[in-house]
């Protein structure tokens, strides 16, 4: 299997504080991977580094065979928080912007998701509730056709019915070779679609395990496995 994401000896400091230390991580082509860890563990930072949005780390990050930032940006669809847009901008304008900027953006995919997410395109960005904004972000992110999707806590404010539909559209649309890295601090909703989990603890990759292996080897759920690692009583191998 070829790796779509390869991270070697990654170290990242910010304001004289170490955020990530000696991170080594390979993610194989086609995998859906859950990135788990407490608030502040460095999940978002790691995603920003992979996406090339955060800079100044030592070590190397290769995505789909390239480590150049422009190539990475076309290979990665990252659930950014739309902070670059003027809050008074209307949603339909933001969608047009995505269509113009990303040649891989599929309006058909977006419209299908927008149908069940019920995003009112006439509203201004500033008028969206937290959940609505998250729906818009995930809709835009998943509508691109890329090798890698980075979804940073995409479901926090989204109601469970819409969550289920988003997860179903991920299964439906994901091409066989695309990688999805999805972070969350509670796991149960996405556990059934994960190939692997990566746990970030003590500023590094603490564990990387196949989801089915956790179930068959420990007879435990992903949630429990993750909690046991955080509580410091690792299940014995």
């Amino acid at each position: 299997m070829t790796n779509t994401i390869e991270i070697k000896n990654l170290n990242y400091r910010r304001n004289y504080r170490s955020i990530l230390e000696d991170v080594n991580l390979n993610i194989e082509m086609g995998k859906i991977v859950g990135l788990l860890g407490e608030n502040g563990a460095g999940k978002t930072t790691l995603m920003r580094l992979i996406a090339g949005v955060a800079k100044g780390a030592s070590g190397s990050i290769t995505v789909a065979g390239t480590d150049g930032v422009p190539d990475k940006k076309s290979a990665i669809s990252f659930s950014e928080q739309l902070n670059g847009f003027n809050p008074s901008m209307r949603i339909d304008k933001i969608i047009r912007f995505y269509e113009d900027v990303y040649p891989d953006f599929s309006t058909k995919k977006y419209n299908e998701m927008a149908g069940f997410l019920q995003i009112d395109e006439g509203l201004r960005l500033s008028a969206l509730s937290k959940g609505m904004k998250e729906k818009l972000i995930i809709g835009l992110t998943l509508s691109r056709d890329t090798k890698v999707y980075l979804l940073d806590e995409p479901f926090g404010g989204i109601d469970s019915m819409s969550r289920k539909k988003i997860i179903q559209s991920i299964i439906k649309w994901k091409s066989d070779d695309a990688v999805i890295l999805v972070s969350d601090h509670y796991v149960s909703e996405i556990a059934s679609i994960l190939d692997e989990v990566v746990i970030i603890k003590d500023r590094t990759v603490y564990a990387q395990k196949s989801a089915e292996e956790i179930r068959s080897k420990y007879a435990e759920g992903i949630e429990h496995y993750y909690e046991s690692i955080y509580e410091g009583n690792d299940i014995d191998d």
Partner: protein, 124 residues
């Protein structure tokens, strides 16, 4: 379908398809939904569905036809065997649990008969 997160999901998918076949929701010769459709319906990973189907194929419960999809076996003997296997599994659990409660073999038969009679009364 709701999954138990403590049990490998491919295994639960296999069991789900076994049951569909045994109760006749999937009849011999029926075409299974496409892998991706199954994954969407069950809200699981495509790779997991593929693993489950792969095992069902090697067990000869389903048969792949090139370019057409997967079909439930038309060999009734295989299905009959599968049914017996699942029944035996259930009986085994029941038997072992009752034996752990120090219920004797004879008592197990009596209790079961008694239970069935009571269920019949409730239903009628």
């Amino acid at each position: 379908m709701k999954f138990d997160d403590k049990i490998p999901i491919y295994y639960q998918i296999k069991n789900y398809i076994y049951r569909q076949i045994i109760v006749g929701k999937l009849a011999p010769g029926d075409k299974l939904p496409a892998v991706r459709q199954l994954a969407v319906d069950l809200t699981v990973n495509v790779n997991t569905v593929q693993r489950a189907l792969g095992e069902l194929i090697s067990e000869k419960i389903i048969e792949p036809q090139r370019g057409k999809g997967n079909f439930v076996t038309e060999d009734r003997e295989t299905i009959e065997k599968l049914k017996k296997l699942l029944i035996t599994e259930q009986l085994q659990d029941l038997y072992e649990n009752l034996r752990k409660l120090n219920v004797s073999d004879e008592e197990i038969v009596d209790y079961l008969q008694d239970y069935i009679n009571k269920r019949k009364q409730v239903q009628s």
